[in-house]
């Protein structure tokens, strides 16, 4: 092994220890074993909290969750037992629905731009700032939507405004995951379509997108799972309410995470019980979406 083909940087101490192997080898083997155990323990330290979160949510949530919980709204007094988060489920569904309607077409169109027109001068900045956008704090997105839509445009708190906030949080996830999938569609497919006389837009819409469909669905589901669990931006946009509402504009809306947050902070057993049951409902929703999304991805031809 020559030095030029393997530029391995080693301290002189290591080199010396490698040379006098026989005398040192016991100590080195011991260090190796200890470090391997330490690294394994690091993984355990991450897995144990995950297990605890899931088991405790299951255990506490199952104690309260019932058919009544899934179909009724919470009592106005936090001390009273009973009731549920049906209004939150309705709010979450409506707002996530609006977010999907905005973020999915926009995000997939943007990813088509990034893949099919990658030579454009705009492609690089768009890709970079999409990545940056995944790191924008969700509370700041809430502040922005409040400032732009509620304060300046005067739309008022409610379902639509909350949906817009969630869509902005979902957008970069949809763009980046869709881009990754579209990139994997073989160029042969595009060539075959073009040779049959299809135009670029026809090739993209009728050949590339269907071929990438399972992967696109995976990305959208992961984005939905992320969006459905958001709390902070909704405090500033949906605002929260104790009542069931299906109004799109002008009347405050609530959501599962908002209700969990509100009830968890109460010092009453009844409210905390409802928070756990709501958490179980939300975790089940989010994990189901995540797991199904990964399964679709694993089975599709064009996927991760």
């Amino acid at each position: 092994m020559t030095a030029s083909s393997a530029p391995v940087e080693m301290s002189s101490a290591t080199r010396a220890s490698l040379r006098s192997r026989s005398s040192n080898s016991v100590r080195r083997q011991r260090v190796d074993l200890v470090m391997r155990l330490v690294l394994g323990a690091a993984l355990l330290l991450a897995i144990v909290p995950l297990g605890l979160i899931i088991t405790i949510t299951l255990q506490q949530g199952l104690a309260t969750i019932s058919l009544e919980f899934l179909t009724s709204t919470a009592p106005l007094s936090f001390r009273r037992f009973g009731g549920g988060f049906f209004h939150g489920l309705v709010g979450t569904t409506m707002m996530v629905g609006i977010a999907i309607l905005i973020a999915v077409p926009l995000g997939i169109a943007a990813s088509i731009f990034l893949v099919e027109y990658r030579t454009s001068r705009l492609a690089k900045p768009v890709r970079f700032f999409t990545d940056v956008m995944t790191g924008v704090p969700s509370i700041f997105v809430g502040l922005f939507v409040y400032a732009a839509l509620v304060r300046e445009a005067g739309i008022g708190f409610g379902t639509f405004v909350g949906g817009v906030a969630i869509s902005i949080l979902m957008l970069p996830i949809v763009v980046r995951s869709a881009e990754e999938i579209l990139r994997l569609v073989p160029v042969d497919l595009r060539n075959a379509s073009t040779a049959m006389g299809a135009r670029t837009w026809q090739t993209t819409l009728f050949v590339v997108l269907p071929a990438a469909a399972p992967g696109l669905i995976t990305g959208v589901m992961l984005a939905v799972a992320r969006g459905a669990g958001e709390t902070a931006p909704l405090i500033l946009t949906a605002f929260g309410t104790a009542y069931l509402t299906t109004e799109l504009f002008g009347s405050p809306q609530t959501a599962l995470p908002l209700l969990i947050f509100e009830q968890a902070r109460q010092p009453f057993e009844a409210a905390q019980g409802r928070a756990w049951a709501g958490a179980l409902q939300l975790v089940a929703l989010v994990l189901l979406l995540t797991v199904v999304a990964r399964l679709i991805a694993a089975r599709s031809r064009v996927g991760r």
Binding site: L39, A109, V126, V136, T200, A232
Partner: protein, 328 residues
């Protein structure tokens, strides 16, 4: 030259309809792509505009004063807006989180890429990713009602009783909701993104270099210590900064365990408040003027996270193959 790219330039296909439909399609998706930039610019413009009066009145005081006393005016800025206590809470809790999460993430990533048997790799990586998919309100609920009182509090008591006797940082008596508790909970939340990126970074170490080290008799740990880690330093720095950016902006889980009282105390076992926590908890009761103050807090937070994020992304991008999962 592929048929696909050839056809784009072919004169046969330059009919009027083709020019309109393909040109229109191109415009449409370009606009969609540009929307990302537009939204980002709009975010900065709109929030800066709303908070400008606050910054204009407070000037540097905004960053150096701890007096947060919003006025009740509808049209002008009458109160005092000193954000130091919130800045302190955000930065210190995030630093605690990074200090704990980074070594842990490096350990996990080393284990998964260098040691774990093949059958364990996928499910274990999957489990760490899953931690990122748990909504932060649920982590907050679990931390508030179980993890902090049952696990973190005894640790705080122990530290206060031992190290706390000499180091003021750990001096007691501890409160359940505290800066320290927030830092621990945050470390769990940023662990997945740091692990995911560091794992990718370790995967890009050329196998030849590792085999060369094995060839001269290095143990597994020596290969990690002297080949894998030194090569991965920029990637680890980038991942750390991305994690720090996430920690600074995290809201709900922090708000639930940090205690909610703004203070600049050296003791970690005392309640504090973060920027994001103050925005979320103060919003419902804020006056129009107070909301401008909260938006100013948001702008300060945004500038901090965006600077860290852009720098981190530039570092991670330069590594080429590493990009990190957008959904984590």
């Amino acid at each position: 030259v592929t048929a696909h790219s050839l056809a784009k330039d072919s004169s046969i296909r330059r009919g009027l309809r083709g020019r309109i439909s393909d040109g229109g399609f191109r415009w449409l998706v370009t606009i969609a792509g540009a929307m990302v930039l537009v939204i980002l610019a709009w975010m900065i413009g709109s929030t800066t505009l709303e908070s400008l009066p606050v910054f204009a009145k407070e000037g540097l005081n905004f960053f150096t004063s701890t007096t947060w006393a919003p006025g009740g005016s509808r049209t002008e800025i009458t109160g005092s807006y000193g954000a130091l206590a919130f800045l302190y809470g955000t930065v210190v809790s995030s630093l605690i989180a990074v200090l704990i999460a980074v070594p842990l993430a490096i350990g996990i990533a080393l284990f998964l890429t260098q040691l774990a048997p093949r059958w364990l790799r996928t499910p274990a990586s999957y489990a760490v990713d899953l931690l990122a998919m748990i909504p932060s309100v649920i982590i907050g609920l679990w931390a508030l009602l179980f993890f902090v009182p049952v696990v973190v509090y005894p640790v705080m008591e122990f530290l206060a009783g031992t190290a706390g006797q000499v180091v003021p940082l750990f001096s007691g008596p501890p409160t359940v909701r505290s800066l320290f508790a927030a830092g621990i909970v945050l470390s769990l939340m940023i662990l997945p993104i740091i692990t995911a990126i560091v794992r990718e970074v370790f995967d890009t170490v050329p196998p030849d270099e590792r085999y060369a080290a094995f060839g001269v008799g290095a143990t597994r740990w020596e290969v990690m210590r002297h080949v894998v880690l030194p090569r991965s330093r920029p990637g680890i720095i980038g991942a750390t900064m991305l994690g720090l950016g996430r920690a600074l902006g995290e809201t709900i889980a922090v708000l639930m365990v940090i205690g909610g009282s703004p203070s600049v105390l050296i003791e970690l076992f005392r309640p504090a408040q973060s920027i994001a926590g103050q925005i979320a908890s103060g919003f419902a009761e804020a006056s129009p003027e107070g909301i401008s103050g909260l938006i100013a807090l948001g702008v300060a937070l945004f500038v901090m996270t965006i600077v860290i994020n852009v720098a981190a992304r530039l570092i991670v991008w330069r590594l080429g193959e590493v990009r990190g999962d957008a959904s984590i």
